[in-house]
Amino acid sequence: MLNRLRCTGLLSKVICLERNSATGTAALVSAAGADSIVRVRKNKKMEKSTIGFFVLVLTIVQISNSLVEGLESTQIYDYTKYHPMDEFGLQNPEGKEKKVIWMDCGIHAREWIAPAFCQWFVKEIVTSYKTNKKLEQMLQNLDVYVTPVINVDGYMYTWVNTNTRIWRKSRSTPPSGNSCLGVDLNRNFNANWGTVGVSFDSCANTYCGKEAGSEPEATAVMDFVGKMVKKTLCFLTIHSAGQLILLPYGHPQISAPNYDELVSVGKAAAAEMKKLHGMGYTVGTSPQILYPNSGSSRDWARLVGIPFSYTFELRDKGEFSFLLPEDQIKPACEEAYAGALSIITYVHDKAFNSGAIPSAAVSGVAMVMLSSFMVVFLTTGVLL
C-alpha cells in the first residue's frame, strides 16, 4: 500500500513522496498533473563510490521541460529500489579536490518553511548557475548536499490534521518505562548531549532521547557527514522561527575558537538577507540570543571540526510562528537564500583563494557543475 504524502505547493508542479509501508522504502512517483522526479545526468562515466547505508537521492524540485533543455539527458528513477551513490554519476574528471557544503532542513516537524526553503534553494541553484558566473565557478569546486526533510516521520505526522500540525519531535517509540512518542532530534546529536536546554521526560518537547545518537535520523547525519568532515566547509541547518542566525555553541560556557569570524560571517549574511525585504536577523550564539541547548546538529558539526556551522531560524518573530502564511514562503526563501549564499561564497573563497572566473567552455563547465549538485534524502529502514 502506498501512503500518499501531501505535496507542498511551492512550485506549480510538485514532486510527491509516497511511502511504501510494505517494503519500508520511499518511492518517488508522479502525481496527476505533475512531472516525475528528474535527475540530471551528464554522461555515463561513473566514479566508484559506495556507501554503507541506505541513501535515497532525489531531486524534490521539479525541473520542467524548458529548464531541462540544454542538459544532456534526464533520468526518472524507480525509488522502490536502493541506489548506490555511483549510479548518480559523481563527476570529477580532473580529480580535483572538491569541498563540501551541507544543508539540512526539517529537523523539527512543524517548521514547514524549512523544507520549503531547501526545495527553493535547490531550484535557485539549478536555475541560476547559467547566468551567475560566480555560482558557476563555485559549483566547479563544491559538492552541495541538501537534505530537504531530516525528520520524515514527524513531518508526515504534521500533515495528518490541524491537531498534529504543531508536532515538533520525531515519532520514535519510547524506551520502556516512558510513555510518550518522539525525540527532539536537535537535542539528540553527540555534542555535549544532555547537559543544558533538554528534558529527560519523554513527554517533553525538548526530550533528548535515552542517549546521544539514539535516534536514526541523527545517526544518519552523523555517519554520512562524519565521513566527509575534512572536506566540509560549512554546515547549515534550517529551522524556524525567530529570525536568527545561531552560531555554536549551545552551551553558555563553551566558545568556538573561530567565534569572531563566525560572528562576522553571520552578520554579513544577515545584512544580505535584510537587503531583500527589510527583515532583520539577529546573529549570536543560542545562549546569547535564544536559550542554551545541547545535542544540536550545529554543535555536533562544529565539534567534529567543520569550521562554519550555523542554525538559520527563518520567519517570523511570533505573529504566526511556525504557521507561516503561504504568501510569505517566497520572500522568506529569497532572503534565506541570500543569507546561505553569502556564507557559502565566503567559505568557498576562503578555501580556494580565488576570485577569478575560469574560461572553460560554458557547456563543459555546466557538465561538471550539474553533476556535482546532489539532493540527499537520508533515512534508514527503521524510519519508514
Binding site: T158, W159, V160, N161, T162, N163, T164, R165, I166, R168, S179, C180, L181, D184, S199, C203, A204, N205, T206, G242, G280, T282, G284, P287, Q288, I289, L290, Y291, K317, G318, E319, F320, S321, F322, L323, L324, P325, E326, Q328
Partner: protein, 230 residues
C-alpha cells in the same frame, strides 16, 4: 543573571520586552489594534531587594495592522518570593492610541451584537497560515485575550506567543458586551511546548477586552483531537 546594562539583542532584554508587548495588548488591544515588539534599543536590569528584578527598557512597538511604529519606555518587575506572581509592567506608548479604529470597531460591534446566529470559527490560522479576512478581527481579539494569560504566566525564563485559535464561539451578548469562549494554543519558546488555554472574555468598543475566566487545559501529548473538544 546579567545585571546592569544589557545587550538589547540578547535574551534577557528580549524576554522582558515581550512581556511589555503582552501588557500593551491587554491595555490597548482590540479587533483592529494589535501590538508587536519591533526592536529593543536598550535595556538595564537590577535586583530590587525583597521584590525581584527590575528591567528598564527602551523599545519600539509596532501596531501591526496599520504598520506604524512607536518608541516607548517601559519598566518590568519580575517578582521574587514564594508566591508565584505575575510581572508588573509600566509602559506608555501614547502615540499608538491615536490610531483611529473607532469606526471599524463600532461596525464590528453592531454587526455581531445584532446577529441571530452566533459566530463560530476554528483553526485561526489554519495549517497553512491562512486566516479568512472576515475572521481576522476575531483572531486579533483572541490574541488580546491571550495576552492576559501570557502576561500572567511570563517570567525571565519564558517567551510566549499565541500560536493558534483552536476555536472561538460567540455566546449571547450580556450587558452590551460581545461574549466569547476561546480555546487558544500558546507557544512557549524556551520549553518549546504548546499550552492549551480556555478563555471566557467580553469585548465592546468602550470597555475593551475583559477576561472573565481562564483555565489551562491538561497537556495532551499525542492528541488527534484537542482536549475537551465539544
Amino acid at each position: 543573571m546579567a545585571t546592569g546594562e544589557l545587550n538589547p539583542n540578547h535574551y534577557q532584554a528580549q524576554r522582558a520586552a515581550k512581556v511589555v508587548e503582552h501588557y500593551l495588548n491587554t491595555r490597548y488591544g482590540s479587533p483592529y489594534r494589535l501590538l508587536g515588539l519591533h526592536r529593543v534599543h536598550s535595556g538595564n536590569a537590577e535586583d530590587v531587594e525583597d521584590s525581584g528584578r527590575k528591567y528598564q527598557l527602551e523599545i519600539s512597538v509596532q501596531e501591526i495592522i496599520s504598520n506604524t511604529t512607536e518608541k516607548c519606555s517601559a519598566e518590568v518587575l519580575f517578582p521574587r518570593g514564594g508566591q508565584q506572581r505575575s510581572p508588573q509592567v509600566q509602559a506608555s506608548c501614547e502615540e499608538l492610541l491615536k490610531i483611529n479604529t473607532t469606526a471599524q470597531e463600532e461596525a464590528l460591534y453592531q454587526q455581531y451584537k445584532m446577529t441571530q446566529s452566533l459566530l463560530s470559527a476554528h483553526n485561526l490560522p489554519d495549517s497553512y497560515g491562512h486566516i479568512d479576512p472576515d475572521m481576522k478581527p476575531f483572531w486579533h481579539l483572541c490574541i488580546v485575550a491571550s495576552s492576559f494569560i501570557m502576561l500572567n504566566e511570563s517570567s525571565e525564563n519564558t517567551l510566549y506567543n499565541m500560536a493558534q485559535v483552536a476555536n472561538i464561539t460567540q455566546l449571547a451578548t450580556e450587558n452590551h458586551q460581545l461574549t466569547f469562549d476561546c480555546h487558544v494554543l500558546l507557544h512557549e519558546m524556551v520549553s518549546q511546548e504548546i499550552i492549551h488555554w480556555k478563555l471566557l472574555f467580553t469585548w465592546s468598543p468602550p470597555e475593551g477586552v475583559k477576561v472573565q475566566q481562564m483555565e489551562q487545559l491538561p497537556h495532551c501529548h499525542d492528541c488527534e483531537k484537542p482536549p475537551n473538544t465539544n
